[in-house]
Amino acid sequence: MNDAGEPGYNFAYLDESTKRMIRRAILKAIAIPGYQVPFGSREMPLAYGWGTGGIQITAAVIGADDVLKVIDQGADDTTNAVSIRRFFARVAGVETTERTAEASIIQTRHRIPERRLSDGQILVYQVPIPEPLRFIEPRETETRKMHALVEYGAMHVKLYEDVAAHGRITTSYNYPVLVNGRYVMSPSPIPKFDNPKMDMMPALQLFGAGREKRIYAIPPYTPVKSLDFEDHPFSVERSDRPCALCGATDTFLDEIVADDRGGRIFVCSDSDRCGEQRDQVASGDGAAP
C-alpha cells in the first residue's frame, strides 16, 4: 500500500478502514449538503485546533497522484500550512504546491483562495465549531432538532442583534449561510468576504471538525446564500486601498506591521495570488500601479 510514503505507516497515515469510515461520512455529507455528519474522529499526531478535522478528510480522499496545497489564512508559508504540507509529503509521498491552479486538493484554514477554483478540485476546510446555532442554543439535542425541522428563526436573532447594536450586520467572519435552500451552515471562520465564492463553486467543498467529530460538505455548483435582512442585505466591504505589494484592489487584505516604528501596510492575504500578480507586473505588461 505504501510505496511512496513513510516506512512503517500506511499511505496517508490513517489505516484503510478508518479512511473508509471517513469516506462514508463524506459521501453522506455530499448527499445532504450542509448537514453535519458525525464521524469517528481519530487521534492525529498534532493537537486539536491545528486542523485535525481537515487532515483526516485530506488523508481519506488523497491519492498518490494528487497535488496538495495547504494554506493558513491564505498563506502557504505559515507554520501550520508548512507542517501539514510536510506531513502529507512524508506519509503519502504526494507532490505539494503553493499554486492554487496546480493543486488538486487544497486544505485551508480560514480562507478561500482568491483564484476561482475549477471542476475537479477539492477544497478542505478546517473547522473549529461546526454548529452555527450553538451560540443561541447550547443543547446539541435541540440544535439537531432545529436543523431537522428547519427552525432557523433564532439564527436571524444573531443578525438582528448586530443591526440593533451597530446599525448594520457586523458579523465579519464565520458568517452563516443557507446551503441548497435547506441547511444553515457555518462556513468556518473564513471572512465574509469569501462567502460569495462558496456559491455555485465548481470545486467540491469538504468541512472537517476534528474535536467535534463532524464532517459536512457542499457539492460542486450548489447554491449557498448568506443570511441577511431585506433592509440590511448581505454585503462585502471592499478595502479602499490596494495591496501594498501587488497593487490588487479586488482581494482580501491583511494588515501587517512593516517596520519597528509601528508602520503598517496592507497586503494580500492570499500569498499565491499576490505573487502571481507581482509576476505579471514584473513581466512588463504595463499594469503597474
Binding site: 443561541i136 432538532k145 431537522a148 425541522l149 428547519v150 427552525e151 432557523y152 428563526g153 433564532a154 436571524h156 436573532v157 438582528y160 442583534e161 443591526v163 440593533a164 447594536a165 441577511d228 435582512f229 431585506e230 433592509d231 440590511h232
Partner: protein, 258 residues
C-alpha cells in the same frame, strides 16, 4: 365565544414511573376563556400543563386543537414539526421563571422579534417596529428595546416574556405560575395586563397557579386538581364561594380571603 372548544383533552394520563401524576383528565378550553388550574404542589397541575401544551407526551389520552381554519388536530399524533410550529405560532408559553422563557443574552427587541423571524419575517425595520409596539403594549418603555433582559426587574422580565409570546398573535397561551415570585403590587399590574390582553385579543389562556386570589381575579373558570385528577371545576366564583368537594373546601378555607 363560539360554540366549539379550542382545545379538548380526553382521558389524559401521565406517570412518572409508577406514580400517576395525571390520571384520566378531561378538559376543554373555549375561545376567549381563561382557565385556572389550581392545586397544591404535586397535584399534577404542572404535568397536565405539560401534556396540554405539547411539552410532555401523555402516556394515554388525546389533546385535540381546533386551528384557525376550523380543522381539528390530534396534537400528539401530529408530526413533531407540526406540533412545534403550533407551539411557536398559535400557542405560547409563559414560564414562572422568565429565565426559562427569555434569551437573557439577547436584547428585548431580539427576544420579542424571534417568533416573527421564526415564521419568516426578514425585514429588520418591521421586526423592530413590531417589537417596540409590543413593549409598549406590555408597559415597557420602547426606548429600552436594545436593553438586555438582565437589566429589567422581575416584573418587567415577566411582561417581556408575555410580549415575546404574544407577538406571533397566538390563540392560546399557557402560563405556569405567571405571578409567582413577584411582589404583590407587581403581581396586580401583571394580572391587570393579562386580563386586559385576553379580553382585547380574544385570547384563551390556561393558567397554572397555587394562588386562589390570582385565579379569582384572572380566570373565568377554575379546575381544582388533587392527586393527579380533577376533583372539582366550574365557574371561578362558584367554585371558590360554593365549593362542593371536601378538598376544595379545605383549599378555600385554608387561605386568607381573596
Amino acid at each position: 365565544m363560539t360554540d366549539l372548544p379550542l382545545l379538548t383533552a380526553t382521558s389524559l394520563s401521565y406517570a412518572y414511573g409508577r406514580r400517576m401524576a395525571c390520571q384520566d383528565v378531561d378538559l376543554e378550553i373555549w375561545p376567549g376563556e381563561v382557565v385556572a388550574i389550581v392545586g397544591e404542589s404535586g397535584s399534577g397541575k404542572s404535568t397536565l400543563l405539560g401534556c396540554l401544551s405539547g411539552r410532555l407526551r401523555p402516556d394515554r389520552g388525546h389533546v385535540a386543537y381546533r386551528d384557525r381554519d376550523g380543522a381539528v388536530l390530534d396534537v400528539w399524533a401530529e408530526p413533531e414539526a407540526r406540533r412545534r410550529l403550533l407551539m411557536r405560532t398559535d400557542w405560547g408559553m409563559v414560564h414562572q421563571n422568565p429565565r426559562d422563557g427569555l434569551r437573557l443574552r439577547v436584547s428585548a427587541g431580539g427576544n420579542v422579534g424571534e417568533r416573527l423571524m421564526a415564521v419568516g419575517a426578514r425585514h429588520y425595520g418591521d421586526i423592530r417596529q413590531a417589537a417596540q409596539a409590543w413593549l409598549e403594549r406590555v408597559e415597557i418603555d420602547p426606548a429600552r428595546v436594545d436593553d438586555l433582559p438582565l437589566a429589567f426587574s422581575g416584573g418587567m422580565q415577566q411582561r417581556l416574556q408575555i410580549a415575546r409570546v404574544l407577538v406571533s398573535n397566538p390563540r392560546l397561551v399557557f402560563m405556569d405560575e405567571p405571578t409567582g415570585g413577584l411582589d404583590v403590587s407587581v403581581q396586580a399590574r401583571l394580572l391587570d395586563l393579562i386580563r386586559g390582553l385576553s379580553r382585547d385579543l380574544g385570547l384563551s389562556a390556561l393558567v397554572v397557579t397555587h394562588d386562589l386570589a390570582v385565579a379569582r381575579l384572572l380566570a373565568h373558570r377554575i379546575v381544582v386538581m388533587r392527586g393527579g385528577g380533577i376533583v372539582e371545576h366550574g365557574l371561578t366564583d362558584r367554585v371558590l364561594d360554593d365549593p362542593h368537594h371536601p378538598y376544595t373546601q379545605l383549599l378555600v378555607s385554608s387561605v386568607l380571603p381573596a
